[in-house]
C-alpha cells in the first residue's frame, strides 16, 4: 500500500517538471540567427580538435609527420592503441576504477545520511550544517593540498589508493549534500509523517522512503562525482609516487614523457582514457544533464 502510494507520487513528481517545461517553452517565431551562426562556429571549435585526436591516434608514427593533419590517414592503424595497452594501461584503468568506485561510494553513503538529517532533523545545529557544506562550494578546496599531504603522510597513507579515495570523497561531499538536500526538500512531509505514524524509525524511512524517492538525483550526483574523481589529477600527483598506483590522468602525463615524439601513441592514450567515461555519458546523459542543471539551478 505504502509503496504503491509513493510510487504514484513519485511518478507524479517526476512528470511535473516536464509538463511545466512544455507549458513554459518560449515559442519563437523569428529564428535566433546570431545564436545559430554562433553555435555552428562553436561546433567547429569543439569538433575539429576532437576529430584531430581520433585521426591522429590512428596514424603511424611516420604518417604523423607528412600530409595534412586533418586528412584521413593513408595507412590507418590501431598499433598506437596496442602500444598504450601494452604499457600497463589496464593497471592504470583498474586503479582509476578502484579510486572512483571507492570515492563515489563513500561520498554517496555519507552524503545521503547527511542530506536526510539536514532535511528531517529538528535540531538547529544539524540543519545548519547545510550552510557549512554550502560554504565548501565557495572555497577553492585545492588550496588545502599541503595540509592534506601532511596529514596523509602522518596517517601512513602516502602512496596508497586509499590516500586518493579519502580527500577526493571529502571534496565531493559538499556538492553532493547540497544537491541531495535540495531534492529531499521536495519530498512532501506528509509521506514521512504517515510512515512515522506506521511506526517506522528514521533509518527505515531513509532506506525505504527517502532513497527510493530521490534515486534520479542519486544517479546524477553519482555520475557527476565519478567524473570529478575519475579526472582528478592533483591528488594522484602529490599523494602517490609508485608507478603501480598511477591513475589514468597521471598515467597520461607520464606517457607524454615516455613516448615523447610518438604523438599518435600519446593521443591514443588520451582517447583510450576517455572511452570509459564516454560510454557512461552515452548511457546516462539524460540523468547527468538534467540533474546537473536541477542541482545548480536551485
Amino acid at each position: 500500500m505504502m509503496s504503491l502510494l509513493t510510487e504514484r507520487r513519485q511518478r507524479q513528481l517526476a512528470a511535473q517538471p516536464d509538463r511545466l517545461a512544455n507549458k513554459t517553452r518560449p515559442r519563437r517565431r523569428v529564428g535566433n540567427v546570431p545564436g545559430a551562426l554562433f553555435s555552428l562556429m562553436w561546433l567547429g571549435i569543439v569538433i575539429v580538435p576532437l576529430y584531430w585526436m581520433v585521426i591522429t591516434s590512428l596514424r603511424t608514427q611516420n604518417g604523423f609527420f607528412d600530409g595534412s593533419p586533418l586528412a584521413w590517414p593513408k595507412h590507418p592503424t590501431l598499433d598506437n592503441y596496442r602500444t598504450v595497452l601494452d604499457n600497463d594501461f589496464w593497471r592504470y584503468l583498474m586503479n582509476s576504477v578502484i579510486v572512483t568506485v571507492g570515492g563515489v561510494g563513500l561520498t554517496l553513503a555519507v552524503s545521503l545520511m547527511a542530506a536526510y538529517a539536514i532535511v528531517r532533523s529538528k535540531r538547529r545545529f544539524v540543519r545548519g550544517t547545510f550552510n557549512l557544506f554550502l560554504l565548501g562550494l565557495a572555497i577553492p578546496l585545492q588550496a588545502t593540498i599541503i595540509p592534506i599531504y601532511y596529514m596523509i603522510v602522518k596517517l601512513h597513507l602516502y602512496d596508497t589508493l586509499l590516500a586518493l579515495v579519502l580527500p577526493s570523497a571529502a571534496f565531493a561531499v559538499p556538492i553532493t549534500v547540497v544537491i541531495l538536500t535540495n531534492f529531499l526538500r521536495d519530498v512532501p512531509g506528509e509521506l514521512f509523517e504517515s510512515m512515522h505514524v506506521e511506526g517506522a524509525g528514521e533509518w527505515r524511512m531513509l532506506f525505504s522512503l527517502a532513497i527510493p524517492l530521490v534515486r534520479p538525483a542519486i544517479t546524477t550526483v553519482a555520475v557527476y562525482d565519478a567524473l570529478q574523481i575519475w579526472n582528478g589529477f592533483l591528488f594522484p600527483l602529490i599523494l602517490t609516487q609508485s608507478p603501480d598506483l598511477r591513475v589514468l590522468p597521471l598515467a597520461l602525463f607520464d606517457f607524454q614523457g615516455q613516448f615523447t615524439v610518438n604523438v599518435p601513441a600519446i593521443i591514443a592514450s588520451v582517447v583510450l582514457s576517455t572511452l570509459p567515461i564516454l560510454a557512461l555519458y552515452i548511457v546516462g546523459r539524460r540523468q547527468l544533464v538534467s540533474g546537473l542543471t536541477a542541482g545548480f539551478g536551485k
Binding site: 518560449p26 553555435s39 555519507v110 577553492p140 571534496f171 564516454l278 555519458y281
Partner: protein
C-alpha cells in the same frame, strides 16, 4: 492530517533524524577540508621543508611572499585569467545556452556534442592541446598556407599569446557546462513573459535584453561564481600544457603554490599562497552573493 502529525511530534520530545546520520559526512568533510583550512593558516606562519619538523616562522613567509616578484606576477596573471575567462566565457555560454534552450531535435544533438569536452580530464585536454599546438608538428602549423593562416602562430611558445591559449583551452573545456546552466535557466522563464513582450511589440533582440537577460540574473550569478572561483583552481591545464612557461608567463597562483611547495620544498610560503587563494575564493563568492542580493532576486521573480 495535520492533527496526526502534530501529535506524532509531541510523542517525540527531541525527535527527527539523529545527529549520528550527519556525523560521517561532517567528519570526512571536517577532517579533509575544514581542518586543512585551519592548518594551512598555521603552516603559513611556519617553516617546513616537507620532511623535517615544523617550526615557527612568524611573518617571514608573508614578507617574503610580499616581496616575491614571482608570486606577485602569479597573482596578477590569475586576476587576468579570471577576468578574461569570465569576459570570454559568459557571452559565449549565454548565447549558446539561449540557442540550446529551443526544443528542436537538432539542438538537442548539438548540446550532446558540445558536452563532450567536459567529459575529458583536464590532463587529457592539456596533453591533446600541447601536441595539437606544437610549433613544429602541430595542427596550427599546417594552416600556414591557407585561409586560416592567422592561426599559424606559436601559441605555446609566444609569451604574449600563451596566456590566451590557456584561457581558450579552459573555455573549450568549461563553456559547455555554463551553457548548460543558461539553457536550464532560459527554459524556466515563463512563456507568458515573452507573449506579453511580443504584444508590446518587442523585437527578438529586445526580448533578449528585456526579458531573457533580466530573468537570467540568478543563473548569471551562479555561473559567474563558479567561473571566478573556478579560475582559482586552474592547475592541471597549465601544469601539463605549459608548465608555467615560457618563463613565468603562465605561472598562475595554484601552480606557483605547487612549485613553491612540492618542488622548492618551501611549504610555509606555499601555504601562505594557499591562504591567499582561500581568501580570494571566499571574498569572491560572498561578494557576489551580497552584490546580487538574494532577496531582491526573489522579489523580482515573484513580481513576474
Amino acid at each position: 492530517m495535520t492533527g496526526i502529525s502534530a501529535s506524532a511530534r509531541v510523542k517525540r520530545p527531541r525527535g527527527g533524524a539523529p545527529l549520528l546520520m550527519a556525523l560521517p559526512a561532517l567528519l570526512l568533510f571536517g577532517l579533509f577540508a575544514l581542518l586543512p583550512m585551519v592548518f594551512v593558516v598555521i603552516l603559513s606562519v611556519s617553516k617546513w621543508d616537507g620532511l623535517g619538523d615544523i617550526s615557527w616562522a612568524g611573518g617571514a613567509n608573508w614578507s617574503h611572499l610580499w616581496n616575491s616578484g614571482v608570486t606577485r606576477h602569479a597573482l596578477w596573471l590569475t586576476a587576468k585569467v579570471m577576468i578574461f575567462s569570465w569576459v570570454i566565457q559568459t557571452p559565449i555560454s549565454l548565447l549558446l545556452g539561449v540557442f540550446l534552450a529551443g526544443r528542436q531535435r537538432y539542438r538537442a544533438l548539438l548540446a550532446a556534442v558540445f558536452f563532450v569536452p567536459l567529459l575529458l580530464s583536464s590532463a587529457a585536454v592539456a596533453l591533446a592541446y600541447r601536441n595539437l599546438l606544437d610549433p613544429n608538428f602541430g595542427l596550427t602549423q599546417s594552416l600556414k598556407d591557407g585561409p586560416f593562416d592567422l592561426l599559424a602562430k606559436d601559441w605555446l611558445g609566444n609569451q604574449n599569446l600563451v596566456l590566451f591559449t590557456v584561457i581558450f583551452v579552459i573555455s573549450w573545456q568549461f563553456v559547455p557546462f555554463h551553457s548548460l546552466l543558461y539553457q536550464a535557466g532560459v527554459r524556466q522563464i515563463p512563456a507568458t513573459m515573452y507573449e506579453a513582450a511580443r504584444l508590446d511589440g518587442a523585437s527578438t533582440i529586445q526580448q533578449f535584453f528585456f526579458v531573457t537577460l533580466p530573468q537570467l540574473r540568478y543563473t548569471i550569478v551562479t555561473s559567474s561564481t563558479l567561473m571566478l572561483v573556478g579560475s582559482l583552481t586552474y592547475f592541471d591545464v597549465v601544469f601539463i600544457m605549459t608548465g608555467g612557461g615560457p618563463g613565468y608567463s603562465t605561472r598562475l597562483l595554484p601552480l606557483d603554490m605547487y612549485i613553491t611547495g612540492f618542488q622548492s620544498h618551501d611549504f610555509g610560503e606555499a601555504s601562505a599562497i594557499a591562504v591567499v587563494l582561500v581568501a580570494a575564493g571566499l571574498a569572491i563568492s560572498l561578494g557576489l552573493v551580497k552584490f546580487s542580493g538574494f532577496s531582491r532576486m526573489q522579489s523580482q521573480t515573484a513580481g513576474a
